[in-house]
């Protein structure tokens, strides 16, 4: 909560301690350093290949942040977000090729179109929770794969689709990479800004309440379905933008790779590894996972070994670090926090209440 220093009834809040100020300063410094490193990366990259890996990772980050609008706020894990990145890519490409639109306009219009398509999909899939939602999200990708492969007149089918380049051919390969690197970074920045704004808003509080306990949120008056649908559409929009941007950079679309479960699972793994409840979680996850994926693909080439690596990483994260890296670091830092709450004198009832501390989460699980 922001700057809550004094409560109206005169009791001191626990914020505003020196520790918090130091922590905030550290965070700002870290953020600035990270930003400087990102902006300097194209200059530091030794060759075009490393630069292209950078673009790939930035693209992963854009996808993961787009995914995290649904995953992070509502806790609905979609394994099928490749549906929206793929649709974004195809929409952008087709609007340029068949619609004759300017590439950047095509990107925006395409993403808006995907957002519109996401409304009925959201209406259908958000009616169910948990596992059923995941199943439906997977089904979406499989349907789109079937359709895009069969509908060869439009999508180029299995032979793929060439996307016209937005920059003229005079711009050399490394220069292309550099421009697209910054474009992707800008997209990530905008998406993060929107995520941050929602996180602070009352809308965000309602969404997080849905993540924690949907029935309870609804009983407190949150119109849960509407909330989920809105954030779902926002998520589809940003994911489609990321997919379209990738299409413009890569210049070629193939249904098998666009509508692939793997892309969706990358987004999940990245966000989960970084921490879905943190603003920068998906970005951190994208850097770690993106780098590892490129490393494994590079080391083991065409073999399917990178799938094993991906599978093992995902399994380990789910088993041992389901909250992600950033929350784990946060908890570590919090251990050094001087315990502010102990300053306040406790009433007898508080002490009594504390002695009855049980495991409420477990109890609740039983009642479900």
């Amino acid at each position: 909560m922001r700057s809550a220093s004094k409560a109206p009834d005169g009791t001191t809040g626990t914020s505003g301690t020196t520790f918090d100020r130091v922590l905030l300063g550290g965070k700002v410094l870290l953020l600035l350093a990270g930003l400087a490193l990102v902006l300097a990366f194209p200059g530091l990259a030794p060759d075009a290949f490393i630069l292209s890996v950078g673009v790939t990772i930035a693209s992963y980050a854009a996808l993961a942040v787009g995914w995290n609008f649904v995953g992070g706020f509502t806790g609905y894990i979609s394994l099928g977000h490749a549906a929206y990145s793929g649709l974004g890519g195809y929409a952008t490409a087709l609007l340029i090729i068949d619609g004759g639109l300017n590439p950047w306009l095509a990107l925006g219009v395409g993403a808006l179109g995907v957002a519109v398509v996401a409304v009925p999909i959201g209406v259908a899939s958000l009616r169910v929770r948990g596992a059923s939602f995941v199943i439906v999200s997977i089904a979406m990708v499989l349907i789109l794969l079937l359709v895009s492969q069969s509908w060869a007149d439009v999508t180029g089918g299995s032979s793929g689709l060439r996307v016209p380049r937005p920059f003229s051919d005079d711009v050399l390969r490394p220069e292309q990479h550099e421009r697209f690197f910054y474009l992707h970074v800008a997209l990530v920045a905008v998406a993060l800004l929107v995520w941050w704004a929602i996180d602070r808003s009352r809308f965000g509080i309602g969404l997080k309440a849905i993540r924690e306990d949907e029935d309870k949120a609804q009983s407190l008056g949150v119109p849960t379905f509407k909330y989920k649908l809105v954030v779902f559409v926002i998520s589809a929009f940003f994911t489609a933008l990321a997919g379209g941007m990738y299409a413009l950079w890569f210049g070629y679309l193939d249904p098998i790779f666009q509508f692939s479960i793997l892309i969706g699972s990358y987004m999940v793994l990245m966000s989960l590894l970084g921490g879905i409840r943190s603003l920068f979680g998906p970005v951190v996850g994208a850097v770690i996972v993106g780098y590892s994926l490129e490393y494994f693909k590079n080391q083991y080439g065409d073999s399917q070994f990178h799938l094993v690596a991906l599978g093992l990483m995902l399994g380990l994260v789910v088993l041992f670090m389901p909250d992600g890296v950033l929350p784990a670091i946060g908890q570590l830092v919090n251990r050094f926090r001087p315990t502010a709450t102990s300053i306040r004198e406790e009433s007898a009832a508080d002490l009594l209440a504390r002695t009855t501390k049980t495991e409420p989460r477990q109890a609740e699980e039983v009642s479900r």
């Binding site: 259908a124 169910v128 929770r129 059923s132 349907i143 070994f305 599978g311 399994g315």
Partner: protein
């Protein structure tokens, strides 16, 4: 569509539906005993198919005999998976995290299959591979009939196990009301382990049946998991009869649509049915109390 073609499609649909039903029953078992949606089910199916193919290639013996190895092996693997991996997940997030964990297992299996056997398409050649017989003008391949027979026998075995044995009683009690089952002295953890073992054993049987008449490759499991997931949601998560009925209906529909629409478009029937179900009856058509919250 001519009469004999229609009959042939119908019969093929029933044969296919039988296999779907067996596999969907396995998925339903996992969900029933632990509220886990097992994405890796079809990856294990393909793994079993590869084992049958490898067994046949190395020994030259009929792949059906590989069942003697794969079924116990998969049973043990299922118990181990439940005891060692899934039981470690926090109960509060079990359903969601188990989807991801089993998804990770599926990726690992697919990757390993690709790594060991390469991505080349494989097919078992048997002396009866090409043989078929005619019923009223419809042409039915012997291997498809054997595959159906295997599936039907296993389903019957599963049914008898569930209905007639003490273990089956405990299993059903665990599925319907875990807390009550615990109060009756049933060790639900152990039962859940065995439920997982049996579920995975259905994948072993299904995989062998599949290997008899299909070309297999590592990423084939994605073609199975979608339809199977659709079947269990439509049937109502947790209901074995619901899953079996949905499997039969959809298998037949898919087979009938293949003639006018082609194989690819015919597969969309599963997803159309899935979305229609969600709009009309999100808890599925045969699911009870269980299905509503998942």
């Amino acid at each position: 569509m001519s009469g004999s073609l229609l009959l042939q499609s119908l019969i093929l649909g029933i044969l296919l539906g039988g296999l779907y039903a067996l596999l969907a029953a396995g998925l339903t078992l996992y969900f029933g005993v632990m509220r886990v949606v097992m994405i890796a089910h079809s990856a294990f199916l393909i793994l079993a198919a590869y084992l049958a193919w490898y067994f046949n290639r190395e020994t030259g013996i009929d792949p059906l005999l590989s069942l003697l190895v794969t079924v116990p092996l998969f049973f043990v693997a299922g118990v181990a998976m439940q005891r060692l991996l899934l039981s470690r997940l926090r109960p509060a997030t079990l359903t969601m995290m188990s989807v991801l964990l089993t998804f990770a297992i599926a990726l690992t299996i697919e990757g390993l299959l690709g790594y060991v056997f390469t991505g080349t398409q494989r097919r078992i050649q048997l002396d009866y591979s090409g043989s078929s017989f005619e019923v009223a003008g419809a042409n039915i391949a012997v291997v498809k009939l054997i595959a159906f027979g295997l599936a039907a026998l296993s389903l019957l075995g599963l049914y008898l196990l569930m209905k007639k044995t003490r273990f089956g009683q405990a299993l059903r009690a665990t599925i319907q009301h875990p807390e009550a089952a615990r109060l009756l002295g049933i060790s639900t953890d152990r039962i859940a382990g065995y439920g997982f073992g049996i579920g995975l054993a259905t994948a072993a049987v299904g995989g062998t049946a599949l290997a008899l008449d299909s070309t297999i490759y590592p990423s084939l499991h994605w073609h199975w998991i979608g339809p199977l997931m659709a079947i269990i949601v439509i049937g109502g998560l947790g209901s074995i009869p619901g899953a079996a009925i949905a499997a039969m209906l959809l298998g037949v529909t898919q087979s009938l649509l293949q003639v006018p629409m082609g194989t690819t478009w015919a597969q969309t029937v599963f997803y159309i049915a899935l979305f229609a179900t969600l709009m009309v009856r999100p808890q599925g058509f045969f699911g009870g109390r269980l299905a509503q919250r998942f």
